[in-house]
Symmetry: C2
Subunit: 902 residues, 2 copies
C-alpha cells in the first residue's frame, strides 16, 4: 500500500531530512527536527507524489489518502491531548505548501483550520482570550474565502472584484467608522461582528456558505494547497527559476501553537551565533504573550534572549534566561543540538505556549560578510566542518563588506530611500554634490568630500571622478564608462539613476519633488544602488587586519584552478591588485593614457592631420609617454604577464571640443576653425559602439599600432636590460575577421623584431586578441590559427549578442527586470544561455586548431561569481577583473573548482 502521509511528532517522524523530494523542504526539515528529539508541534506531510497523482487523477484523491490522513490526525490528537473539532478542547491546524525548493510566497497557506461555531467557545474557555479567538476566526475566514473558495474551487465572484479585496474593504470601512488606526484596536465583539459580516458577504458573492465543518475546512485547505502549485504566480516563478512542473508540492498539516495564551506564553527568534559579527554566542529576541508576527513587526520592543547579549538599548528588559530559566536551558540545549547537527549557524523560531517550548522552524541563518568569514573559519577550527565546506560558506560578494567602507546599516535603515539606480561600484559613501569634474577636483583639493553628479561621464571627467568620494549618474548601465572607472578604483558608484534631473547650469539636482544644490549632502549605498539625502555615517573597511579573511583566501588559492588577473591601466592600480592577489594583468586599456593635457593635443593633431606624414609625426610625439606608461605597468607586474590592449575607442571621443577649444586647436594646427569643425563633424557617428574603433583604427591608421607596439617593446627591452622579467601580451581589439587580426599582428611582430634588433635584446611576448564580437566567436578557429591567446571581452560581446547598448539600456532595463523579461542584468552577470554559447564556441573552436590556446575573460563578468563559475566550466585559464574584485574572484574560482560536476 502506497504511503502518502508522513507523520511527525513527539520525538518520532516517518521522514528524514534526506526525503526532500517526497516531503518538500519544509516537511523534511520538520521531520528531521522531530527525530532529533526537538519539540516540534506535531503534524503530518502529504507527499509531493500525491500532488502529481491529484492532477493525473482528474483532481480526485484516492480513498486511501483519507484513511492515512485520519490515522495521522489521530496520532496528533493523542500527543496534544486535543481533538480536531472537539467543542471543549479543539485542535487547530495550519495547512501549508512545501516544495523541494523554497518558492517564497508563491503558494498558499491556511491557518487556524478547525475553528467553527462549535469549537470557538471551547477555545475561548481554554485561552481565556476571546479577542484572540475571534481575531483568529476572521483570519481563517479571509484566508479561506480567498485561497480555497475563490482561487482553488474557482468560484467566480458575481461582482468584478475578488473576495479578499471585498472583505478587506469591509474591515477598512469598519475601522474608519470607528476611528481605529490599527487592527489591534478591535475587541472580541467587534471581530465577532465582522466575522458574521464576512460570512454574509461570502454567501452573497460566491453563492455558497463558509464551511462550518472542521473536516470540510481541512480538505478544502489541502486541495487548495495542491491547486496553488498550478497557480499563475507559481507557474511563472517555476519557469523563471527552471523548476520542473512535475516536482509538485507537499502539504504540511501541523498543530497550531500560540504564544499569546497568557503570561507563560511567549514567542521569539534567535541565531545560534551572532549574525553580525560571527562571534560564537547565542543571540536572539523574545516577547512575552505575543505572536510571531509581533516580533517581526516591531510594534513592541523585544527583549534580549540572555544576559550575555544584553546591550545598552535593552538595559531594562528582562531576558528569557532570567524569566523562564528552565525553558531557556532547554532552548540552549536545542541550539547546541542544531549546530552540531546542521554544522552551520541556524536561524530559529520558537513559541512557548503555556510554559511549553515548541520549535517552529530552523534554517540556515543569514549573516554579514565579516560574520560569514569568521564563522566559517571558526567552525573549521572547532572541527565542525572542513576547509572546503568553509570556502563554500562565504558568498564571494560578501567580501565586499571587508574591502570597502559601508554605510552604517543601522543608520541607513533610519533614512528614507531617495532614489534607486544600478549598483555600479560597491561600498558606501557620503559627500557634497558637485556637477562638474573640474569642481570635483577643486573641492577635493580644498579638503571636501564630494559626490560627482553627472548625466553620464566621459574620459574627460576622469580627473574629477578620481577626486570624488562617489559618482552618481542619471544614465548608463553596469558597464558604462562611470561604472567601469569607478569599479576599477573600488569607488562607490550608482549609475542609471533615472529619477535624477540634473541642471548643470543652475547647479541643481531635482529628484521627484526635492531639489538639491551644489554643496548639499548625499549618501550612497553603491552595493545596492540606493541613494539617500543627507549624511549617513560610514563604517571603515580594513581587510588587512582580518586574520580569518587571510586564512580563508589562503584555502581558496589552494583549491582553485582558474587564475585571477586584474584589469588595471596605472601602476598604482596594478600594485593594489597585486596586494589583493592578482596574478597578472588581463586588460590594460591604453586609451585613458591619452587624456593627459600634454598628450591630448598630439592625439588631436594626429586625428585631424592632413596627410599620412603629418599623422605619423603627431603619433610619434606620443611615443615617449606611452613607453613610460608601459614601463611603469610592466615594472609593477614584474614576473607576471601583462595584457595590453591597443587603442580601442572611436577617435571622436578625443575631439569632443567646445568652440573655444576648436579655436585654440586651429591656432595650434594653423588651420581655419571651420576646417577643424568640418573634420570633427565628419567623424561623427550614429552608433559609435559599432563604428570606426578597435582594430579598425589600427588598420586605417597603422602608425597608431606601430607607435603603440614600439612603446610596448621599447619598454620591455629597457626592463629586460635592467634584469627584470616582464611578459607583455599584445591584444588586438574588436577583431571580427582573421584578416583583421593578421593585418595588425604583422605590424606588431615586425615592430618586435625591429626593437630586438635595435636594442640587441631578446624578450618574450605574445600577440592575441579580444573575442568581443559574435563573429569572432563564430570564426574563432580561423582567428586562432595566428592568435596566441584569446580574451573574451564580454561587455562588448553582450552588447552585440543582445543588441543592447550598455549606455542606453537604462531606458528599458528596469522595466525588463521588473517584468521578469530578464532575470538579471546581463552586463552584470554573464548570460550563459546566449552569450555563453558564443564563449563556449569560441573556446572550443579556438582550441580545435591551437590546443594550448590561453583563454581568459576581461569583461566585467570576470569579477562576478556566477560568471566565474561558468568560466571555470568552459575551461578558461583565467578571469580578469578590477582590483577590488580580485579577492572575490579568488573565492569564486575556488568555489567553482569545488562544485564543478566533473
Amino acid at each position: 500500500m502506497a504511503k502518502y502521509v508522513y507523520f511527525f511528532g513527539d520525538g518520532h517522524a516517518d521522514g528524514t531530512a534526506e526525503m526532500k523530494n517526497a516531503l518538500g523542504g519544509k516537511g523534511a526539515n520538520l521531520a528531521e527536527m522531530t527525530n532529533l528529539g526537538i519539540p516540534v508541534p506535531p503534524g503530518f506531510t502529504i507527499t509531493t507524489e500525491m500532488c502529481n497523482a491529484y492532477y493525473e487523477n482528474n483532481k480526485q484523491f484516492p480513498e486511501e489518502l483519507y484513511r492515512q490522513v485520519d490515522d495521522a490526525l489521530r496520532r496528533v490528537e493523542a500527543i496534544m491531548d486535543k481533538r480536531f473539532g472537539d467543542p471543549d478542547n479543539p485542535l487547530l491546524v495550519s495547512v501549508r505548501s512545501g516544495a523541494r525548493q523554497s518558492m517564497p510566497g508563491m503558494m498558499d497557506t491556511v491557518l487556524n483550520v478547525g475553528l467553527t461555531s462549535a469549537t470557538i467557545p471551547g477555545l475561548i474557555r481554554k485561552s481565556q482570550n476571546p479577542t484572540f479567538v475571534y481575531d483568529a476566526y476572521r483570519r481563517l475566514i479571509m484566508m479561506y474565502a480567498d485561497v480555497v473558495m475563490e482561487k482553488a474551487e474557482g468560484i467566480e465572484p458575481e461582482e468584478g472584484q475578488d473576495i479578499r479585496k471585498q472583505l478587506e474593504q469591509i474591515l477598512e470601512a469598519f475601522k474608519a467608522e470607528h476611528g481605529y488606526a490599527s487592527d489591534t484596536d478591535l475587541g472580541a465583539e467587534e471581530w465577532k461582528t465582522l466575522a458574521e459580516q464576512f460570512k454574509v458577504r461570502i454567501q452573497d458573492v460566491l453563492g455558497v456558505p463558509f464551511p462550518d465543518d472542521p473536516r470540510d475546512q481541512l480538505w478544502g485547505a489541502i486541495r487548495a494547497v495542491f491547486q496553488s502549485w498550478n497557480g499563475k504566480r507559481a507557474v511563472h516563478y517555476r519557469r523563471i527559476e527552471g523548476i520542473p512542473d512535475d516536482w509538485g508540492t507537499a502539504v504540511n498539516v501541523q498543530t497550531m501553537v500560540f504564544g499569546n495564551m497568557g503570561d507563560t506564553s511567549a514567542t521569539g527568534v534567535a541565531f545560534t551565533r551572532n549574525p553580525a559579527t560571527g562571534e560564537n554566542v547565542f543571540y536572539g529576541e523574545w516577547l512575552q504573550n505575543a505572536q510571531g508576527e509581533d516580533v517581526v513587526a516591531g510594534i513592541r520592543t523585544p527583549h534580549p534572549l540572555n544576559e550575555t547579549t544584553r546591550t545598552g538599548d535593552t538595559q531594562d528588559s528582562v531576558s528569557l534566561e532570567t524569566f523562564l530559566p528552565e525553558v531557556y536551558r532547554q532552548l540552549v540545549e536545542i541550539r547546541n543540538k542544531l549546530e552540531s547537527h546542521y554544522r552551520d549557524m541556524q536561524d530559529i523560531e520558537f513559541t512557548i505556549e503555556d510554559g511549553r517550548l515548541w520549535m517552529l522552524q530552523t534554517r540556515t541563518g543569514k549573516r554579514t560578510g565579516p560574520a560569514a568569514i569568521r564563522m566559517a573559519v571558526d567552525m573549521v577550527r572547532e572541527g565542525l566542518i572542513d576547509e572546503q565546506t568553509a570556502l563554500l560558506r562565504v558568498q564571494p560578494k560578501q567580501l565586499d563588506e571587508l574591502l570597502h567602507p559601508m554605510l552604517n546599516p543601522l543608520e541607513e535603515k533610519k533614512n528614507p530611500v531617495l532614489a534607486t539606480g544600478l549598483p555600479a561600484g560597491p561600498g558606501g559613501a557620503t559627500g557634497q554634490i558637485v556637477f562638474t569634474a573640474d569642481d570635483a577636483e577643486r573641492w577635493a583639493r580644498d579638503g571636501k568630500r564630494v559626490v560627482l553628479v553627472r548625466e553620464e561621464t566621459s574620459p574627460e571627467d576622469v580627473h574629477g571622478m578620481h577626486a570624488a568620494a562617489a559618482i552618481l549618474t542619471a544614465k548608463g548601465g553596469m558597464t558604462s564608462h562611470a561604472a567601469l572607472v569607478a569599479r576599477g578604483w573600488g569607488k562607490c558608484c550608482i549609475v542609471g539613476c533615472g529619477a535624477l534631473q540634473i541642471n548643470v547650469e543652475s547647479r541643481t539636482l531635482t529628484v521627484k519633488d526635492q531639489t538639491f544644490h551644489e554643496g548639499d549632502w548625499l549618501s550612497l549605498n553603491g552595493s545596492r544602488g540606493i541613494l539617500y539625502a543627507g549624511q549617513i555615517p560610514l563604517i571603515d573597511a580594513d581587510p588587512e587586519t582580518n586574520t580569518e579573511y587571510a586564512q580563508l583566501m589562503q584555502w581558496a588559492d589552494g583549491v582553485r584552478s582558474l587564475q585571477v588577473r586584474t584589469n588595471a591601466d596605472r601602476p598604482g592600480d596594478a600594485s593594489q591588485a597585486r596586494k589583493f592577489g592578482a596574478q597578472g594583468i588581463g586588460l590594460c586599456r591604453t586609451e585613458h593614457m591619452f587624456f593627459d593635457p600634454q598628450r591630448i593635443l598630439a592625439m588631436r593633431k594626429m586625428i585631424l592631420a592632413d596627410s599620412r606624414e603629418e599623422r605619423r609625426r603627431a603619433v610619434m610625439e606620443l611615443l615617449p609617454f606611452q613607453r613610460q606608461d608601459f614601463k611603469g605597468i610592466l615594472d609593477a607586474m614584474e614576473g607576471l604577464p601583462v595584457t595590453i590592449r591597443l587603442l580601442d575607442p572611436p577617435l571622436h571621443e578625443f575631439i569632443n571640443l567646445t568652440p573655444e577649444q576648436v579655436e585654440e586647436l586651429a591656432g595650434e594646427l594653423k588651420l581655419q576653425p571651420e576646417v577643424i569643425q568640418a573634420r570633427i563633424d565628419n567623424l561623427h557617428e550614429f552608433n559609435p559602439m559599432l563604428g570606426h574603433r578597435g582594430c579598425r583604427l589600427g588598420i586605417a591608421y597603422p602608425e597608431i599600432t606601430e607607435m603603440q607596439a614600439r612603446a610596448i617593446f621599447e619598454a620591455t627591452a629597457e626592463l629586460t636590460g635592467e634584469g627584470k622579467q616582464v611578459f607583455p601580451e599584445v591584444m588586438i581589439p574588436l577583431v571580427g575577421t582573421a584578416t583583421e587580426f593578421e593585418h595588425q599582428e604583422k605590424i606588431v611582430r615586425d615592430m618586435a623584431a625591429a626593437v630586438m634588433e635595435e636594442t640587441g635584446t631578446t624578450f618574450e611576448y605574445l600577440v592575441g586578441t579580444m573575442i568581443e564580437l559574435p563573429r569572432a566567436a563564430l570564426t574563432a578557429d580561423e582567428i586562432a590559427r595566428r592568435a596566441e591567446f584569446f580574451s573574451f571581452g564580454t561587455n562588448d560581446l553582450t552588447q552585440t549578442t543582445y543588441g543592447f547598448s550598455r549606455d542606453d539600456i537604462g531606458s528599458f532595463l528596469p522595466e525588463y527586470l521588473q517584468q521578469k523579461i530578464l532575470t538579471h542584468d546581463p552586463f552584470q552577470s554573464l548570460d550563459t544561455t546566449g552569450v555563453g554559447q558564443l564563449v563556449r564556441m569560441g573556446v572550443e573552436k579556438g582550441r580545435s586548431v591551437r590546443p594550448g590556446l590561453k583563454v581568459g575573460i576581461c569583461g566585467e563578468h570576470g569579477g562576478d561569481p556566477a560568471s566565474i563559475q561558468f568560466c571555470h566550466s568552459v575551461g578558461l585559464n583565467y578571469v580578469s577583473c578590477s582590483p577590488y574584485r580580485v579577492p572575490i574572484a579568488r573565492l569564486a574560482a575556488a568555489q567553482a573548482a569545488l562544485t564543478a560536476s566533473d
Copy 2:
C-alpha cells in the same frame, strides 16, 4: 614513364578540355581547339604535377622533362617549318602560366622567347620589318629581366629600384630626349640602341648578362612561370579565392604568330553572336598588319568583320569578308564549329600571319543582360542547350538592365569619373542637384528632374526622395536609410560617396576641386556606384515587351523551390511587386506610415505623453489610419500572405524637431517648450541601433502593440467580411529572449480574439518574429516554442554579428575592401562564414522544436543572388526583397535549386 608534356598542333593534341586539372584551363582549351581541327599555333603544355614536383624536388627538374620538352619542340618545328634558334628561319615561342582556375594577372608570362643576336637577322629577313623585330627584342629583354632574372632567380638589384622600373626609366628618358610621345614613334635603330642600353644596365645592376642562348631563355622562362605560382600576388589571391596551394600551375609553350608581318597579316577579335543584343550574327573587328594589342588599345580604328554588321561609323572601312574572303570563310566555319562545340557564345581572338589564319583563344564571351537572356532562350529554341542550362546562363543581376533605365554605356565611357560610392540603387539617372527634400519635391512639381544630394537621409526626407530621379549621399552603407528606400522603389541611388562635401546653407557641393551649385547636372550609374558631372543620355527599360525575359522567368518558376516575397510598405509597391512575381509580402514595415503630417502629431503626443492614459489616447488616434494602411496592403496582396512588422525604430526618430517645431508642439500639448525639449533630450541615445527600439518599445508601451494589432485584425476582419482571402502574419521585431516574444505575442493574440468576437468574424493569422540578433539565433529553440514563423533580419544580424553600424561603415569599408580585409560588403552579400552560421543555427534550433516552422529572410540579402544560394542551402522557405529585385530573386532561386549539391 610519367608524361609531363602534352603536345598540341596541326589537328592533334595529347590533351582534351576535360584535363583542366593537369593542363590548366588555358592548356586544356588549346588542346580542345586543336582537336576540333581549328588552326592553333602549335605548342605544348607542361603539367601542373610538374609544378608540385618542382617545389618538392628542391626546384630541380627531372632529366626526363628536358627530353620530353625537346621532343615536343621538335614536333612544333616540323609543323611550323621553322627551328628554335635557327639563324635563318627562327621559331619564337611564348611561355605562359595556366592554372585550373583563371588567376588573371597573378602569374608571369614571357613572350618572344628565342630572339637572340643570332636569330634577329633571320627574322628581319623573313618579316622585312626591322622595327617590329627590334621592338619585339626589347620587349623580351624587359620582360625577361623582370620576370626571370630578378623575380624568379632572385637576383637582387644593387640599387634600390627593381630592374623593370630602371629599364622603363631609360626608355622614358630616351623618348623625352627625342620628343616622342608614344612608343610607336621609335624606329628600328632606336629600339636596337635601347636594347643594347638595357643589356648594359642589366649586367651592371644584376651582375649577370641577359642570356643570348635560346635554350637558356626557354628554361629560364619555364622556371619563372613555375616560380610565379608562389609569388606574393598569386599566394594572396589564392588565399582570398580559396584556391589550394597544391593545385599548381601548368606552363604553356606556344609558337608566336604575328599579325604585323605585312599586308596579308592581320589581327582581330570577334564574338560568335552580338554581345550587346544577343542577335545571332557573327560580330567582330579586325586590323590589317597589326598586333592584338593594337585592336584593344584603340589607337587605330578597327574595321568591321563582315558586311552584315557594318554600321554608320564604319561606312568607309573594308571588311575582312571583302578583303580576305577565303580567310573569312574559314573563320565563319570555325565560329560555327565553336558554337556547336561549346554551346555558348564565344569570344575569340585570331591572327592572320602572311595569309594564314591562327586562332589564339576562345572563351565564353561576356554579354549584356538583354543579350544574355536572348541568347539563352534562342539557344534552347535552336536545340543547342536545355532549359536548365539556359537558366544558368543568365546572371541574376543582369536582369537589372531590363528593369531599370541605364546610362548609355557608350556615352558613359566618354565621361571621366567624378567620384565613386556604394551602388545602393541600380540603374542610371541624370538630374539637377537639389539639397533638401522640400526642394526636390518643389522642383519635381515644376517638371524638373532632380538628384537629391544629402549627407544622409532620414524618414522625414521620404517625400523628397520619392520626387527625385536619383539619390546621392555622402554617408551610409548598403542598408542605410537612403539605400533601403531607394531600392524599394527601384530608384537609382549612390550612398557613402565620401568625396562629397555638401554645404546645404550655401547650396553647394564640392567634389575634390570641382564645385557644383543647385541646378547643376549630375549623372549616376547606380549599378556600379559611379558619379559623373553633367548629363549622360539614358537607355529606357522595358521588361514588359521582352518575350525572351518572360519565357526565362517562366522556366525559373518551374524549377525553384524557394518562394519569393517582397518587402513593401505601400499598396502601390505591393502591386508592382506582384507584377514582378512576388508571392506575398515578407516585410511590411509600419514606421513609414507615421510620418504623414496628419499622423506625426499624434505620434509625437504619444511619445511625449505624461501618463499611460494620455499615451493611450494619442495612440488610439492613429488606429483609423493604420487600419486603412493595412487594409490597403492586405487587399493588394489578396490571396497571399502579408508579414507585418510591428513598430521598430527608436522613438526619438519621430521627434527630431527644430526649435520652432518644439514651440508648436508645446502649444498643441499645452506644455512649456522646455519640458518638451527636456523629454526629447531624455530620449537621446548614444547608440540608437542598440537602444530602445523593436519589441522593447512594445514592452514599455504595450498600447502601441495593442493599437497595431487591432488595426491589423480589424482590417483583416473587414476584408474577410467582403469575402476576400487575406493572411496577415504579425511579426515581433528585435526579439532577443523568448520572454520578450511571449510578452508581445500575448497582446497580439488577445487582440485577435477580441476583434473576432467584436466583429463575429473568424480569420487566420500567424504570430512570429524577426531573428535579427545573435541571441535570437542562439536561443531559437526557446523562441520557436511559441513563434509560428521566423524571418531572418540579416541587416541587423550583420550589424551585430560584425559590430558594424550600417550607417557608419562608410568610414572604413572602402579601405577594408581595397586591402582585401573583407572580400565583399557583408550588407550586400551575406557573410556565410560568420552570420551564416547564426542563420543555420537559427533554422536548425527553430525546427528542432517546431518541425514545420516557416522560415524566411527579409534583410536586403533576400535580393542578392549569392545570398539566395545560401538561403536555399539552409532550407529557408522564402526570401523577401524589394519589388525591383523580385525577378532577380526568382532567377537566383532557380539557379540555387539547379546547382544545389543534394
